[in-house]
């Protein structure tokens, strides 16, 4: 653990193995993977290919059984549990496939939750909120409405606003367009990529939808990345 060398990458994985508790066969085995700062990465793969495990390792919710996971020049295994949560709150934004928001909280309360854990000030929060809402083409009047009163597209944009409110250096987006129609999808992607580029955020984008590939600078197939099938089955 101590002989690790910190790398100047946004993401650097070396010999990472993860197996679920009480299970012998690893679900994820990555020899080596790197992502530069500010890169836009598209990850595609079938379900069960280890995508969500990879994302859980990157956010520090799960810790690898062996190997080194470095995120934003920080080795995840070096952080104690509470520090990992703090690191995630401050540096990583996440958007899920769907149901990102607490349906019974207002839009502003949903966003404030992210701020509660990262601890940015109220003025900064207000300012960034307005900025993000105009970038995401969201009406500020929606702020006080309950999250479940919004359309699916609006909810996804609020989720992005929440993921970006803390100015994370890494943004992880998991199948965000599956609930959107084609036209909305295109608009959503354009906006997301623009926001990521403007804020120089490294973007990890996971999707089945290979038509979205052209938006990205690095395309990764989980079946290439995860070598469990060749090595660890026996």
């Amino acid at each position: 653990m101590s002989a690790k060398q910190l790398e100047t990458k946004a993401i650097a994985l070396r010999n990472v193995i993860y197996r679920y508790p009480k299970s012998i066969a690893p679900v994820l085995h990555i020899d080596s993977w790197e992502v530069e700062h500010g890169e836009l990465v598209f990850i595609h793969g079938l379900s069960g290919s280890g995508k969500s495990t990879l994302l859980n390792l990157l956010t520090g919710i799960l810790v690898a059984n062996s190997g080194d996971v470095q995120v934003l020049e920080q080795s995840i295994a070096d952080l104690r549990s509470v520090k990992r949560d703090e690191f995630r709150a401050k540096n990583i934004g996440v958007v899920f496939q769907q149901f990102n928001l607490f349906p019974y909280l207002s839009v502003i309360e949903n966003i404030k939750l992210a701020v509660y854990f990262s601890g940015i000030g109220h003025d900064v929060f207000q300012e960034r909120c307005q900025e993000l809402f105009s970038c995401l083409n969201l009406d500020l009047a929606l702020m006080e409405s309950r999250a479940d009163m919004l359309s699916v597209g609006q909810q996804q944009r609020v989720a992005i606003a929440r993921a970006l409110i803390n100015r994370p250096k890494l943004l992880i987006v998991d199948e965000p367009t599956s609930a959107l129609d084609n036209e909305a999808k295109h608009g959503f992607m354009t906006m997301l990529v623009r926001l990521a580029k403007e804020s120089q955020t490294t973007l990890i984008f996971v999707s089945h939808d290979e038509t979205l590939m052209p938006f990205f600078s690095q395309q990764v197939s989980m079946s290439d990345l995860n070598s469990t099938r060749e090595k660890d089955v026996n």
């Binding site: 949560d85 990583i92 899920f96 990102n100 607490f102 019974y104 909280l105 309360e109 509660y116 998991d174």
Partner: protein
Amino acid sequence: MLIKLAAKSLMQRRVSALLTVMMIAVSVFVLLSVEMIRYQAKDSFGKTVSGVDLLVGARTGQLNLLLHSVFQIGYATNNISWQSYQTIAKHSKVAWTIPISMGDSHRGYRVMGTTQDMFNFFSYGEEKSLNFAQGDAFNTLYDAVIGADAARKLNYKVGDKIVLSHGIAKTSFSQHNDKPFTISGILDATGTPMDKNVFVSLQAIEAIHINWQQGVKLPPSISSSEDVLIPDSVTAVMVGLKSKFATFDLQRLINQFPQEPLTAILPAATLMTLWQILGNVEQILLLISILVLAGALLGMSNMLLVSMRERQHEIAILRVLGASPWVILTLIQLEAILLVITGVLIALLGLWATVHVFRDYIISEYGLFINGQVFSSNMLLAMASIFLASFIVAMIPALSAYRRSLYANLH
């Protein structure tokens, strides 16, 4: 922020949350009522009589004598003859005596025939004597003194005229309406059964029964004059001694009284005996109420635990936003505390209302004085125990949430 989240999450599940709150409210209500009765009734019990060294009546059970002469519950089986009373009163070791004569009533309140000494020597609580709030003791034959509770309920003041009824039933058809009494004084509230008595002199009791036989009013034959107003007998006698050391000697003497069979008891000791009998019931009530509360808290735990399954996704959202598993645990504990606080508040409100509604009923039926003080030290202790218990029981769903949050998946 977390409190708001917990509150809104509960509101989202308001039906099951409300049922849980009601379950807790009912069980806390039961527990706190039992606690209140335990302490206040015991307190009220012990305070009813003090400073009386011996209580003497016709041969009867200890408890019966105490109940009918002090608590005004039940009836005397027999009386003490006036001669026997005089013998006891003149005994060299006796400092004072208060004879009492029961059997009449006024609108449901028992009439106690007694002497001036009732107001001079009787004491209750920590050696407090009966004091007058208004007016004073009997000056003329048909004067009456009434207890604070009776005065308040019947809305009487000094100078009002009252008519006594024969017998102690709530409604009586034989009224002593030929001899109305005038209220000469109203006593301060004592918090003892004395508050619901109407006091008249022994002579007055004789006077109103002078033309009666076997409980039936006869036409007037002889006029009631003061010289024939020596009573034949009294119901009981409260005795104060010159020295406490003589108590057992005199008790033995009275119990072996040659002229007629008498019983002498030590009121304090008999009160203790009585409380011990009730004490077992009290312990069982407490045990039952604790079990009911445990059931309610386990129900709450179950409700939170079941909700965990559908909230797996919420936990995942909180985790990716940077909530540590401890935050998730805290959140569930907060929900439990909110449920219990609401339940306890409803229970306190219910208890307060119940005590105020049933206070008079409890006083008149059982001679127990409940002051409705919800925030006494034992009640606060009981409430602290409730919160501690709920914290412990809520650890079941809280730890489940903690464990789930460790592997909260991004999907």
